[in-house]
Amino acid sequence: MKLVGAAAILLGSLLAALTQLNAEKTREETRRALRRSLILLRNELYERQTILPEAFPGLAGASGCEAAQGFYVFLSEEMRQLGERSFSTIWRDCAGKKLAMLDEEDTEAIASLGTTLGGSELELQCAALEKCADTLERKSAQCAAERAEKRRMTLGVTLSLGAFVIILLI
C-alpha cells in the first residue's frame, strides 16, 4: 500500500511537472503565432493600407494557433462596439481575455499596441508592430535558453521529491 501511495505521489508530481512544461510550450506557440500575425498585420498596413476590421479575420485564419486565432476572432466580434467603446479599450480587453495564458510582460506588450493601432500615422503603427514583434521574439529566445535548464531542474526536483516521499513511506 505504501508503495502504491508513493508511486501515486511520484506520478502526480511528474504530471504536475509535465503540465507546467506543456503550459510553457503553449505560451511559446502562442507567442510565436502572435509574432507572425503582427508581422503580417504590419505588412498589410504598410503595403495595402488594409483597414483593421478586414485584416483581423485573415490574421485569425493564418495564425496557426488556437489562442491567437481566438484572440483575432473575438476582436472581430468586439469591433461591433466601436463607437461606444474606443478601439484601444476593445483591443486591450480582448488581449486580457484571450491571451491570459501569456505572462504579464507579453500581454502588456500586445495590449499597449491598441493605443497606437488605428491612428492616422501609418509609419508610427508599423514601428509599434515591429517593436512588439521584436519583444515577443526576444522573449522566445530567452525562454528557449531557459527551457532546457528548467526542464532538467523540474524533472530533477520532481524525481528527488518522489524519491524522498518513497523513502519516508518505506
Binding site: 498596413l45 493600407q49 483597414i51 483593421l52 476590421p53 478586414e54 469591433m79 466601436l82 463607437g83 461606444e84 467603446r85 474606443s86 478601439f87 493601432l117 488605428g118 491612428g119 492616422s120 500615422e121 501609418l122 503603427q125
Partner: protein
Amino acid sequence: MDPFAAALALLPQKYVPALEPYARYHPEELRLRVGQAPALSYGFSEHPVSAPKLEEEDLVRVLQKATGASLYSAAESMRKGYFSTGTLRLGVCGRASVQEHGTGYSRYSSISVRLARELPDVCKEAACELYGDGFVNTLILSPPGGGKTTALRDLIRILADGGTRVGVIDERGELDEKLYDLGRCSDVISGTDKLSGALLLLRSMTPQVIAADEISAPQDIAAIREIYGCGTGIVATAHACGPEDLKRRESYRELLRCGVFRKALIIRAVRGKRRYEVKELTG
C-alpha cells in the same frame, strides 16, 4: 443606408435619441463641436439639439467608427481636411499641423458630417434653359453647402440619360455611380486628381462632356485648361455667390477671359429654399 441614419450610426448611443426626431426635416449636415451639443443644419441654418455636450473622445470615436478604427486609410483625404464614406463626407477641424504633404491633426475640435442627398430632376428646368440650343460649358456656383454637388449629379444624369457620354472625375468620392444614379451614358473615374482623371478619360472613354466637382486649386484650373479645346464639353462646380465673385479670383478671371464657361447655374437660398438661376458668363 439613408444618409441621416448612417450619420447617427457614427455617434455614441447617448446622442442618438435626441437627434432621431429631426429626420423629418431632412437635415443636410450634422455638426459636432467639443463642449457643445450636436447640431443639425437644415433650412439654411444650424439647430442645436437637446443632448449631452460632446467631448474630444466622442469625436475620436466618431472618426474611428467612420474609418473602422483605421484613420490611416483616410489620411490622404484628411490631409485635405475631409474624407468620404459612402453617402457622408466628414470635415475635420482641430489642432492642425500643415506639412509639405498636407495637414495632420493632433487634436480634434469639431467634425462636420455632410449628408449627401440625391434630388432627381432638381435641375430639370435649369437643364432645359442651359442646353435648349445644345450643350454649353457650364459652371455651377453657390457658397459652400449650397447644393452644387447635388445639382451636378442631377445634370450628369440628365445629360447621360439623354444620350450624352459623360466622363465623371470623382476625386472626393461624392459622384459614386454605385450610390447615385448618374444616368446610362456616364463613366466614372475615381481615386485620382482632376488633371490625371481628365487625361485618362480623354484617352480612353471618348467623353462628349467631362464633369468635375469643385474647381478651386491651381491644378484643377490646369485640368480645365487641358480639357478645353479638346472638343469635349465641361460641367463643373465652384464656390462663388455669382459671376462677380468669380471675377475676384485670378484663376477664374483667366477662365472667364478665355470664355471656357459660357453659362452659370447659380444656386441661391431664397426664403429657406434653393432657387436655380441660369446666367450667361462673360469675360
